[in-house]
Amino acid sequence: MEWLISEDPIIACSSGNNENTAISLLRISGLKNFKLLNSLFNKDLNNLVPRKASFIKIVDKSHVIDEVVLTFFKGPHSYNGENILELAVHGNPINVRRIIELFKKHGVREANPGEITYRALRNNKMTLTQVEGLDTLLNAGSIDLFDNGMSHLSGELQKEYLNLRDSYLNLRGAIEILIDFSEDVGEEQSSKLFKDHFENFKSLIHILKRRTRSPRSHLLKPKVVLLGVTNAGKSTLFNKLLEEKRSIVSEIKGTTRDYISEYFSHEGAEFQVVDTAGLRESEDEIEVEGIKLSKELYSDAFYKILVINPFLSDELGVDSLEADAVVFTHSDLKGFDDKVRDFDNLSGNSKRFSLGPIGPLLELGPIGPESKTGPIGPESKLGPIGPESEIGPIGPQEGGPIEPLGLLKNHIYRKYSDLMAEKPILPDRQRNIINSLATMVDGISQLIDGVNDPAILSNEINMLDAEVNGLLGITTSDDVLNNIFSNFCIGK
């Protein structure tokens, strides 16, 4: 943790350099003057004009190491408030390594992960919220998430937290007026003032709390999990989603014993699709474990797909599980419609699809995508997709045929983009504070209805102070900083 107070000049490669690339970007931050490094260049660094790129050679005892483009950002008007030299060097990792080693020999230390950004925080160039936004952005698995990080990086969230703090200070002011100055202000008016400010603060907290309700894992690495009894056809669907053959598909029950996962992209978002071990009664210890794992994976999933073979009886109670989509397999078999009709008690909001027959090459077909609730009668749009129906996908009524797979993927993506539209707050630190604030505020609400002793209320309200300040980054726990900065790729 010594680096938290270190003022050493540090160097890091800010661009990825796992493979040979044309250019790698090196940053040297925290040089007080150029004395240390001046001998390593063929031109006097003291003549550098800030924010102007110069073509320059790196030399080691008159031997030219590399020809680079160098830009000088003079503190405090730089990314992190310190003097920064940015070197665009030839991107061969061997070259990059050699240059870093050269600078290390001349008193520049290799940066710890996130250290360059940490100095931005230290120098008041960024707030903790912004740093956390940057973290989100750099590790985003989707365009939406990237945008989310970007908006936090630009300070939007910090503004909201400042706004919350203002509301909090008003609330504290109001309770003090109620206690100390109600004779001057008037009893009724000071009571009203307090109530209004409390309601305002409470609603701000609850708005923020709503933005923390989706589990972080759903946003960072959304998992689409398939669940069903053994041999229901999960692997077939899995392969469909990946549009390739990955899972072993066979008629032998219990082929997928462990789980298998792969990624697919849709609309710029990456989803992890997980094919779980089929559920069945089993004595096999390993299989029992596998089945337990399947259920856990399913219940934590961002998007849950229940795969049902309507011709099998549901002894394990799988049908009653909550699902985002239900896929009925074996649609080729006779009596499929009648069988599916028996499932009208399935969780109401699931989207329904049918799949069949088992086999890698057949298409998915939608079953009445608009059937939200209520029984599925014969007059409904469900089906008929029987053996006598047309071969090929059946698209929705409007807009021509859409591949059913696309429909399912759209549905998955829509759920994701709906969550992102709530402008979710991702960093655990902020989520924890917001949730603890919400709990505390609800407690105060109860006190207002119950004891209603302003001295106690004020005591409890004052105790929110640390949390409100914590959101703004007014906190000094080293663990917090360490945790945040350890997530960074090294050069930021």
Partner: protein, 616 residues
């Protein structure tokens, strides 16, 4: 030894000076109290009242410390009230209207009884540091002393304003004193503050019929421990409540250019917490009326104090606007209202004993430290007086803890932060106000008094108090109610709620829907045991607040790690990443810890966040 030599000389006989003299003369030292020839000791030039929200607590703390103010207030009290009665014991405060004449007479009498204390009627023009302090009076008389306490109130370089009329003076009935700089050349920074007072009105010209009378509350406890029978020394009078009208404020707004506060004639900064009627009219244009409490100045005085309309407008406008107020239509002004500007010491140059850091042996207390209010003045007077005495005797300083007393809060606030406006105590200033209550003042402060070892009646009282307290605590823990028919019935009758299993008296008192004081007092009476009413209230409220207090203490402990974080003000004040204004303030106050930094007015959250995350 020179007859004009003193161990401790107090300059100024107001509330701070009287209290300082009272405290300092408890030691066997030669103490002199120098006061202006023309005015009585401990007179009340502004509102005729002692106590109030946050201030009643100070008066009770003074009583536990053996102070003078509580004795005087009880003696001269003509109307007692409990403020914030509906808001919970922690913020409940006593306020007493006093008879100004009786109050000052009693002060003079009690101070004269102290054999080692001389009251000297002189006006002082110079204080200089030689071997001792050398004090020169206007008359040419010279005094010397090892310790000096300056308590000159609003007098130093005082300037009075009523409309365009300006007079040099500390108050309307008395001429001015020299400036602070003339008096003590070596004091550093000087500020100008301003305060004001309303016109006094003649009794016979007021129509009390149309106002709401506010009678004295017989249940309010007296301040002084010897008066615990709660008998009042004087006949009790009513105060009256009326309101300013839209026409009142309109009139004031029309005459803005005639108000010295708004036309630039007054440069001093006035208290936001005690605004003049002009301030109210201009700062809150949406409000069309304010309370006016019409308060008697004494049993035999024929003047009333209209609380809430202090003003420095020209006399004829004062009369005009006062006559728009119901009940005051025919009011006759006995003394016009005025504003006064005066020199104020920079209290950041004082230490926690109120002694000047660069001029050891020189203490400052009261309104010239930038506070407002008699109680604040008396509290500081006590601290300065006791500490001057202890210093002469070469004993350890007397410091009241911030967590345990309002006086401690005030003194720490004064010396750790520069004031932009007059400082008034209120309960919000105390971080631990669930504990710093009126009802437990003997418990909180008593031990401090005992440690002084001055062994007086008060020490015996405090011992008795602690003993009763201990017994009562045992009693509430041991007394129980069985879940039987008998007690069910009792609980039902008293509306205590259900009794499902055996519970103790302690648990009963803690039930959140009950008034703890009433419940405990009733149960003790039922059992036929007798305790001091103060002890009963103390224990009842301690039980009620226990849990909350504990939580907040735990929280503060958690926070103290951050609060105690050392900061380097020299580094911070040079740091370009901190805004210019913040750096100016940091340079000025020179904070050493994060806590001190965060207490500086106007420090931005960005700066705090920066310092918190930064290991400077």
């Amino acid at each position: 030894m020179n007859k004009n030599f003193y161990d401790i000389l107090i300059i100024g006989g107001g509330h701070a000076g009287a209290e300082a003299a009272w405290a300092a003369s408890e030691f066997n030292l030669r103490v002199g109290l120098v006061t202006m020839p023309s005015i009585p000791i401990a007179s009340a030039p502004c509102n005729p009242a002692v106590g109030g929200v946050g201030k009643g607590q100070v008066v009770r703390e003074l009583d536990a410390l053996g102070g003078l103010m509580p004795i005087l207030a009880d003696y001269a009290g003509i109307q007692f009230r409990i403020l914030n009665e509906s808001k919970g014991a922690a913020v409940r405060s006593t306020r007493v209207q006093i008879d100004k004449e009786l109050y000052a007479e009693k002060a003079e009498e009690l101070l004269s009884e102290r054999k080692n204390l001389s009251v000297i009627r002189e006006s002082i023009v110079d204080i200089s540091l030689n071997e001792n302090y050398l004090v020169t009076a206007k008359s040419g008389e010279l005094f010397s002393a090892t310790k000096i306490i300056i308590t000159t109130g609003t007098f130093l370089n005082g300037k009075l304003h009523t409309g365009e009329v300006q007079n040099a003076g500390g108050r309307f009935d008395c001429g001015p004193s020299v400036s602070l700089q003339t008096l003590v050349k070596e004091t550093g920074n000087i500020k100008r503050f301003k305060t004001g007072t309303p016109a006094r009105l003649l009794r016979d010209s007021i129509n009390f019929e149309v106002m709401d009378p506010q009678p004295s509350d017989p249940l309010a406890f007296n301040f002084h421990f010897k008066n615990r029978d709660n008998k009042r020394a004087q006949r009790q009078l009513d105060c009256y409540l009326t309101r300013t009208q839209p026409a009142t404020l309109e009139l004031i707004r029309e005459n803005k250019e005639k108000s010295p506060i708004f036309n630039g004639q007054i440069e001093g900064v006035g208290p936001r917490y005690c605004p003049s009627i002009e301030d109210k009219a201009f700062r809150y244009p949406d409000k069309d009326g304010h309370h006016v409490f019409v308060e008697p100045e004494g049993l035999n005085l024929d003047t009333f104090y209209p609380n809430g309309i202090s003003t420095s407008l020209p006399v004829e406008i004062q009369e005009e606007f006062i006559r728009t107020i119901p009940g005051l239509e025919k009011a006759v002004i006995a003394v016009p209202g005025y504003a006064v500007e005066y020199d104020v010491v920079d209290t950041t140059e004082l230490n926690i004993a109120l002694e000047h850091k660069k001029l050891p042996g020189l203490y400052f207390a009261g309104q010239l430290n930038g506070t407002s209010g008699y109680e604040e003045a008396a509290g500081q007077g006590f601290i300065a007086g006791i500490n001057a005495g202890l210093a002469v005797l070469d004993k350890e300083r007397f410091i009241l803890n911030r967590e345990e007393s309002y006086i401690g809060v005030m003194v720490e606030d004064l010396v750790s932060n520069e004031r932009d406006e007059p400082y008034r105590l209120f309960t919000a200033r105390s971080e631990s106000r669930l504990f710093t209550r009126e009802d437990n003042s003997y418990f909180r402060i008593g031990p401090y008094r005992k440690k002084l070892g001055l062994d007086k009646e008060i020490d015996a009282f405090i011992d008795g108090y602690f003993l009763e307290r201990e017994i009562l605590i045992k009693l509430v823990k041991k007394t129980g109610f069985r879940a039987t028919k008998k007690w069910s019935k009792h609980f039902e009758e008293q509306k205590y709620g259900k009794i499902q299993e055996n519970i103790t008296l302690e648990e009963l008192v803690k039930r959140s829907h009950l008034d703890p004081e009433v419940t405990l007092a009733y149960e003790l009476k039922r059992m036929g045991v007798n305790f001091l009413p103060q002890v009963v209230c103390d224990i009842a409220n301690s039980l009620k607040y226990e849990g909350y207090l504990e939580r907040s203490i735990n929280q503060q402990k958690k926070l103290s790690k951050l609060k105690e974080k050392k900061v380097s003000w020299t580094v911070l004040s040079e740091n370009v990443n901190i805004s210019f204004e913040c750096r100016q303030r940091i340079k000025k106050i020179q904070p050493e810890t994060f806590q001190q930094l965060s207490m500086i007015n106007g420090i931005r959250p960005a700066t705090l966040a920066y310092v918190a995350s930064n290991r400077v």
